[in-house]
Subunit: 660 residues, 2 copies
């Protein structure tokens, strides 16, 4: 009769062999990291986690976030062994050992790193760019608490990976938010890619750090089944005291295969001709441990996965959000100001919309990075404190936590200055790769922020976001939708539209109070644009296509141009991707060249239109006026616009030249 | 006779009053944060730092990095009081009190946040996007050690700012590198922008964290002159034991002005009508402290700034770097492979070039993030270990540390997978704003990385970098130069060119061994391109303009097209910004439309050419073939190229359509 230890050793070795075989079949991958996690994976996935391989996303199921995504073959091995439900090529079926050997093949969802969006729902989010998983786990934990589900979010983190600052942002966030349902496990195998990990990432140092960050930290032998299981079952003991628990699991990279020990074996599969010897080494290790020849029947009772609890159905929308007029009416002081001055800042309108969305849909949650009084996320935070997560000054964690919330069915709005969201570009891209519809809101965008200077101005944001907007995600949708409203009415409408859109989006909300341009009931279809002024008849013509703040400058410029005998139209291009054919067609019919005007670096609207025009025969000409030199502080928007050659006079000059 | 304490209080209050006046004059800024630093600034800049206001960048001078850049008015106040040398509007002169009152004006280098590139050389790097200063300080410390200069790099960090993970990356890096010349001072005023800081950023918690990270940490009263000075003079005591020292300075936001106490006063200047009362409150505080009426003469002896030591002249280039042939000859095994196979990976060529640069120029230093065996920075690390800084898995710190090294006159090459450099986009932009010529090298770019999948593929990098490439820096140069070599010869030449270029650049080095396209002596002028194949005569024509890996696919496609009766030229567009007029002119003369082919998302070469073509009358058409859908893992580059519709067949199809 095999002991439990022996059964776990046998399973760990079986998974290790599968992981070796899969990476050799793929011709790439990280078998040694996988082997270091063999026992942890076996205990977690066969004994401790409450889940159901047939329903890997059952709402009551415990979750596993593999932050060190390159270790994934060991998890795939367990999933193949357990016949987890997955979706190869659009099918829905149980994963097999043959599927495992299709690791990294172009037609397989068993990708090089975890990715649910490719059809592997066991995972909640894509990982592989290191240091992000614990933040994702925090988001999943926050969602579970909101939903009243008692589940545990396990997160496996590499020791080398623990050098990433984002890990420590997440450690803080989890303590701040008292997310004791998150369980962090550091895989301390002492080896990075190119060398041993630094002494700063030794298990002892990581233990000290975790304790200093307010966690309970236990060090264990990560290949000792009893120690692992005992430690994994202690979470609730500390949770009652409000302290999250983490493990420092001392492991061996390439465990069980002497030829894979030590440095120089990261990211290198065993060569086909060496595979049998490596597998035999693991068999020999099994024999040493008394774990040879334990068959499935003998281990079945010991490896009975605990079932996840049934959970109540998730909260769903109560009703449609209030429209702009109703939301404004609920804020009499603001309504009075708007009625009198006919101005409203897009960021203020965002705050209104977020609060209205919060009232209408319990799935809406919000995060902000210590600027909630500037982004107006404060309105939501005050009205719905349980659904608001203060991210503090740590944008990377905030973005990845939002990805975790989205994975759990929430609709997370993440706000900060647009400039500071650049801190999370990697995390944003990872969220999109995982198919997670995060709603980003960058305020204080563009050079008109003026006084604070270039360290606070989002001017390179649009180029990056537009690149993602023209990449189709795995469902064939634009991976990103970029929205730049030009007034309060459009900002409100677009913020509301973001919640309904399944994919990710980015709202660029200018700081300044801007004149209201649209009637309260105006609709703003995605990929659309608005014609604010027709060029009308004239010998010399131009169409000014602009975004956000610059729409107002173009309206001014159009008046100046008209006085000078140039018929100028003005278009508000509030969305990317844009229906550029329709816009070009308008210019063609008006026989007017287009001047694209934006207060950001190249890569936004001007490129969007130029690419379409350049590909056509006889398209209207498209010239651009963008920020072409580094901005600096100025005491007024005028001063800075002139400094970057985007004043109304600059627009008039460029339009005159273009109109001929 | 005034005591030293009274003299410091008087100076701190004087600086505080200047900071209040300046922010009120500017109509924006952060006077309360400035006041929390009044005493620390006074003791540092008048008593402890060895520096010379007339020569703020004297090589022997101690440095001050203001990581919480928004506190800058207090430092500007000291600089105005001391008549620091600065460069308003291109002049060189001593700063005055009047200059201080031009804070944030469009024609003033006294910007909203520190920025040396605008003409304020007291600072080494631009700060303002939080969490980056300690990494910059680490770079400055590393440079000082290399140069054998015994100086101290002081870094002031906000408590709220200490939530940024990058701070903890820097804490690790400084311990790893034993940079005991860096002195971190946390300004613990307990208030962020929107609220009190989290308990996780209390001074006690920060002290525990710093100690767990291997630092000596002392808590002091940040408004007590004696405590401050005593603590600041203790660095060397711990330095001998190899431990860096940090202070937790307990301070008061809005110190000395009761009406500015507590939350709600971040980033808000005192209103003009309230300024006199605020200044009077500070005067009253001075009186309480016995610090009223201390004039300059009375305090002159106590406030005598220690002079910086004279230092030997900096190391300068020994000689020109080896050319490709010589560098290759020094690696016989590789030379043999290249001679036989006529292939070389751009990343391997980068490794060769970096080592040759290291031999030729002692200013060349390198950093890498635990992938030095993949980027081939390992060659340099082995040959010049003192000039190599292993950044571990912490890209943000690595980029900002490189900025610090550049500020100190080094030529820092920073390598990682291109995808992982996205983690540092904010830091890259800040380095450029500060005018620092960092040399970025992203390897494994594009989808042809194949097996590892999208979490490891740089495909959105180019859009962001090109946006910066079309922004002129404060000297009027392209703020970024993007280089995508298509073979080993061009990779070598371009890497060598990077070192000579004063500005920042980004080399995109494909992982794959690629056929060598150029003779060893070929030159690659910046903003140039190479015509690898002329279209020649024919009725149907096309010009394929490509970057990197895709150049080879276009050469293949051109052959197929030629067989099908379409004359196809091939251009290697290795640099952005590109001389696009010259490229368009070639297409015009050949009467051929252009197909831009890149293995990245939109925003690179295709946009570059389309923008120029769309703005012209009768320009050649420009169509594009880019990555238009999210990639995934595949076992070969072919598989993934086909998956994203970039196979040779796809190029042929698109070219046929375009050629009509």
């Amino acid at each position: 009769m095999a002991t439990l230890d022996q059964i776990i050793h046998a399973k760990a070795i079986e998974l290790g062999k599968l992981a070796l075989s899969a990476t050799t079949a793929a011709g790439s991958g990280h078998p040694t990291t996988a082997l270091s996690l063999a026992h942890l994976t076996a205990v977690l996935m066969y004994r401790v986690m409450r889940w159901d391989p047939k329903r890997p996303r059952a709402p009551g199921a415990d979750r596993l976030v593999l932050s060190e995504g390159h270790a994934v073959p060991i998890v795939y091995a367990a999933c193949a062994d357990l016949g987890v439900t997955f979706h190869p090529q659009g099918e829905t079926r149980a994963m097999t050992g043959e599927d495992l050997l299709r690791l990294r093949a172009i037609d397989s969802p068993i990708d090089g790193h975890p990715n649910p969006a490719l059809g592997f729902p066991f995972f909640d989010a894509a990982t592989g760019s290191l240091g992000q998983g614990l933040s994702v786990a925090a988001g999943l934990g926050a969602a579970a608490r909101l939903d009243g589900i008692d589940k545990t979010i396990y997160c496996l983190i590499g020791d080398g990976e623990a050098r990433e600052g984002q890990i420590w942002e997440a450690m803080d966030f989890i303590v701040d938010q008292k997310l004791v349902n998150v369980f962090a496990i550091f895989n301390c195998n002492e080896l990075g890619q190119s060398d041993y990990v630094s002494p700063e990432q030794s298990w002892q140092r990581l233990k000290d750090k975790a304790e200093a960050f307010g966690w309970t930290a236990l060090a264990i032998d990560g290949h000792d089944p009893k120690s692992i299981e005992a430690a994994l079952r202690r979470r609730s003991e500390f949770a009652e005291a409000g302290k999250p628990l983490c493990l420092l699991a001392r492991t061996v990279k390439g465990w069980g295969v002497p030829s894979l020990a030590g440095p120089g074996h990261h990211g290198t599969p065993v060569k086909p001709q060496d595979l049998d010897a490596a597998l035999a080494a693991l068999d020999a290790r099994a024999a040493e441990l008394g774990a040879a020849g334990i068959d499935r029947a003998a281990s079945a009772a010991a490896l009975a996965i605990p079932a996840p609890p049934a959970v109540p159905p998730a909260a769903s929308p109560n009703r449609a959000p209030a429209d702009f007029a109703a939301a404004l009416a609920a804020e009499p002081k603001l309504a009075q100001m708007v009625a009198t001055e006919r101005r409203l800042s897009p960021r203020r309108a965002y705050g209104l919309a977020l609060k209205a969305l919060g009232a209408a849909d319990p799935r809406v949650v919000a995060l902000d990075g210590d600027v909630k009084n500037s982004t107006y996320a404060l309105d939501f935070a005050t009205a719905y404190p349980a659904r608001y997560f203060e991210g503090r000054i740590a944008e990377q964690n905030m973005v990845s936590a939002a990805a975790g919330l989205a994975a759990a069915g929430k609709i997370p709005f993440v706000s900060s200055f647009g400039r500071f969201l650049e801190r999370g570009f990697d995390q944003i891209e990872m969220a999109l790769i995982g198919g997670l519809g995060i709603k980003l809101v960058g305020t204080h965008v563009g050079v008109t922020l003026a006084s604070d200077g270039p360290s606070q101005m989002a001017v390179a944001d649009i180029a990056f976001m537009r690149a993602l907007a023209h990449a189709r995600d795995y469902r064939g949708r634009p991976a990103m939708t970029v929205l730049t409203p030009s007034d309060g009415v459009s900002a409100y409408a677009l913020a509301v539209a973001m919640a309904a859109l399944p994919g990710a989006c980015y709202l660029r909300a200018v700081r300044a109070d801007l004149p209201i341009l649209y009637p309260e009931s105006e609709g703003f279809p995605l990929s659309g644009f608005k014609v604010l002024r027709e060029p009308g008849p004239g010998r010399r013509k131009v169409l000014l296509a602009a975004t956000g703040y610059m729409v107002h400058r173009c309206l001014e410029a159009a008046q100046v141009l008209a006085q000078g005998g140039i018929a100028a139209g003005v278009i508000d291009a509030y969305c990317l991707p844009l229906d550029r054919q329709a816009l070009l067609e308008r210019a063609r019919r008006a026989a007017a060249p287009i001047l694209a005007v934006e207060d950001n670096y190249i890569g936004g609207l001007a490129s969007e239109l130029a690419e379409a025009a350049a590909a056509e025969m006889n398209a209207p000409r498209v010239a651009s006026l963008v920020v072409g030199n580094f901005p600096k502080s100025g005491r007024s928007a005028e001063d800075v616009l002139a400094y970057v050659h985007l004043s109304t006079a600059d627009i008039v000059d460029a339009a005159r030249t273009l109109a001929g």
